[in-house]
């Protein structure tokens, strides 16, 4: 496809459509609304359905209902709406229903700064729903990545039967860039595994060698039960420890055993770097500029741009810390993913560049921290 000027939110919607999304349930909220608008226009053209629900709770509920009906489904929101969705995101994790939730982050808490960027929902993406549960969260830093990671989010959700959160931010969502989208035939699309056994032999929550049991759609002859209660392999409520514990282990295994597939990142100039700058989302753009300038100035600095935030790529950073590298992490919050980084790298030094006032972190701010890292004083 020839390059065109595309907005991040538009690219996200187009990525979802390319991944096979055929249902969108949503509620308007800045700065995510463009996604709903594109979906309202485009979904019926491909035979899909769009519905504007009465609130965000209903939006995610409708998404889960559609997904149970066998249709790839998503919603898009921002901080306040994301907070409202948490209970049903937990339900999706519990009932193992594939779905994609886009959160175009704005500064918070509460109504905050509706048109300003933030990366303040990183921890909420991980732990927003109550109880221990697995989750995948991805974060794009360019318009093209918004497209690619929307596809990736659907593929992961289908493959691992799990809610996937696409953590965008206001900058990436509203920004327009010259973007070249991949040709349709080059896009890998994953569909959930369907059962091939007779209905009497089908167990929607069975332990399988792939850790992810097939997911039959309602209306296809496999009549089964879905509940938010702990359940046995058939989906019926259980309080038996010998059924609860294996379920917990399996749903975490389906993520932890497939980290190689799920962990996505990009690295530049890391091999010989003494200091590695870690960033994601819009902040990664400033981080890359800062690293480039530092390199030009002869400093051994590298960049790791994370696409996968959850599960956290702990092994990657443990390895780098083992090699003696130090870290600078930049994020538009007062320190969220940096807590994970500090946790996994042990005694390696981690310095954070943080701001949560709705302003993008500049390359200069990161550069200043890199320079302090190197132990040189500014003249």
């Amino acid at each position: 496809m020839s390059p065109r000027l595309l907005q991040g939110n538009e690219a996200c919607a187009l990525g979802a459509l390319a991944a096979g999304c055929r249902f969108f349930g949503g509620y308007p909220i800045t700065p995510s609304t463009d996604i709903a608008e594109v979906m309202a226009r485009e979904l019926p053209k491909v035979g899909g359905t769009f519905i504007q629900m009465e609130d965000e709770i209903a939006s995610i509920a409708a998404v889960l209902g559609a997904s149970v009906g066998g249709v790839k489904a998503m919603t898009a929101t921002s901080g306040p709406g994301f907070s409202l969705m948490q209970e049903n995101i937990g339900y999706a994790a519990m009932a193992e229903i594939p779905c994609v939730i886009v959160n175009v982050q704005r500064a918070g808490p509460s109504t905050g700064l509706p048109t300003s960027p933030s990366q303040g929902d990183v921890m909420q993406a991980r732990w927003g729903a109550h109880g221990d549960h697995p989750i995948i969260a991805l974060s794009p830093s360019t318009v093209r990545e918004a497209f690619d990671l929307a596809v990736c989010a659907f593929n992961f959700s289908e493959k691992y039967r799990t809610p996937v959160i696409l953590l965008m931010d206001e900058v990436v969502g509203h920004m327009r860039e010259r973007t070249e989208l991949p040709p349709t035939e080059m896009i890998e699309v994953v569909d959930r595994v369907q059962p091939h056994v007779p209905p009497a032999w089908y167990f929607p929550y069975e332990e399988t060698s792939a850790d992810v049991p097939p997911f039959a759609s309602f209306g296809e002859g496999y009549r089964f039960h879905i509940t938010g209660l702990f359940h046995d392999r058939a989906g019926f409520p259980t309080e038996r420890l010998d059924e609860i514990q294996p379920w917990l282990e399996r749903v975490f295994n389906k993520i932890t055993r497939h980290m190689d597939d799920i962990i996505r990142f990009q690295e530049e100039w890391v091999d010989d770097a003494a200091t590695v700058v870690v960033a994601y989302g819009a902040t990664a753009r400033s981080a890359r500029e800062a690293v480039k300038i530092a390199r030009q100035g002869g400093r051994k600095v590298g960049l790791i741009k994370l696409f996968t935030l959850w599960p956290f790529p702990g092994e990657l950073f443990r390895r780098l810390a083992h090699d003696g590298k130090r870290f600078v992490i930049a994020e538009m919050n007062l320190g969220q993913l940096s807590l994970e980084l500090e946790r996994v790298v042990g005694r390696a030094r981690v310095r954070g560049v943080h701001r949560a006032d709705g302003r993008l972190i500049t390359p200069d701010e990161i550069l200043q921290t890199i320079r302090r890292r190197s132990g040189r004083t500014e003249s």
Binding site: F23, G25, R41, P44, K45, G47, T49, I51, M53, E54, D55, I57, A58, S59, A61, A62, V63, L64, G65, A66, S67, V68, G69, G70, V71, A73, E87, N88, Y91, S217, F218, G219, E220, G221, R223, F224, H225, I226, T227, G228, L229, A234, F236, P237
Partner: protein, 281 residues
Amino acid sequence: MTRETHEAYAYLRHDKRFPNMWCAGCGIGIVMGSLVRAVAHLELDKDQVAIISGIGCTGRMPVYLDFNTMHTTHGRALAFATGLKMARPGMTVIVVMGDGDALAIGGNHFIHAARRNIDLTAIIVNNSIYGMTGGQVSPTTPTGKLATTAPYGNVDQSFPIAELAKAAGASLVARSTVYHVAELDKLLVKAIQKKGFSVVEAVSYCHTSYGRLNRAGGPVDMMRALKENAVTVKASAKMSTEELTGKIVRGLLHEADLPEYTELYAQVIAQAQAQAEEGQT
């Protein structure tokens, strides 16, 4: 009659689900029986029927039923059902809720499902109390009655379910009680058949919480009260407002032929596709 030849047998799950979890004497099982008989009467394909519920005593109903069943989150059953119905417009989607589930936490979804007139059948088992959590005041607890969270008597007004549904745009609204089971069967048949959003309020009771707190007696006494307090729509037309105070008007309360949501959306799809084709040529 042996178990296997009983009409309900083919519609119940037999793998370790029974006995059910409701208190002995509860009315919810009666509504479940009524629902099964309605589906059997309509000879619906079990694979094409979905029963969706929220949380509460009534929320536990789907697990016993051999359909596509989903026990969702508190208050959200209609929103889940809306998504499913949009994805599978051919399926018969029936939503079972209690009064707290449908009208307190789920009140917004209730009026909006009615406003869209989406083809769902909403069954509200109204026992005037939160049963599962032990007898707290609900949106249909009558004013002045006792609940654990209204120890001095309920000061709230109760929600008129039927009027609410009708005003919000539902295609069919009906009410009966767990005493008038034959009527409930028929109303459920009618509601399931009706294209559009249909609401059936099944007036029940909770002797365990409400009955004890309000000294209304056991299940037999409360069942008798339903029998004595219910009046037909026809009879109610001749009664004054004073005479109708405390009465349960039963029967078909409202029916209208209104455009149905998934059918309207099918037109949207046709229109969008036609316009897209035009744009290409």
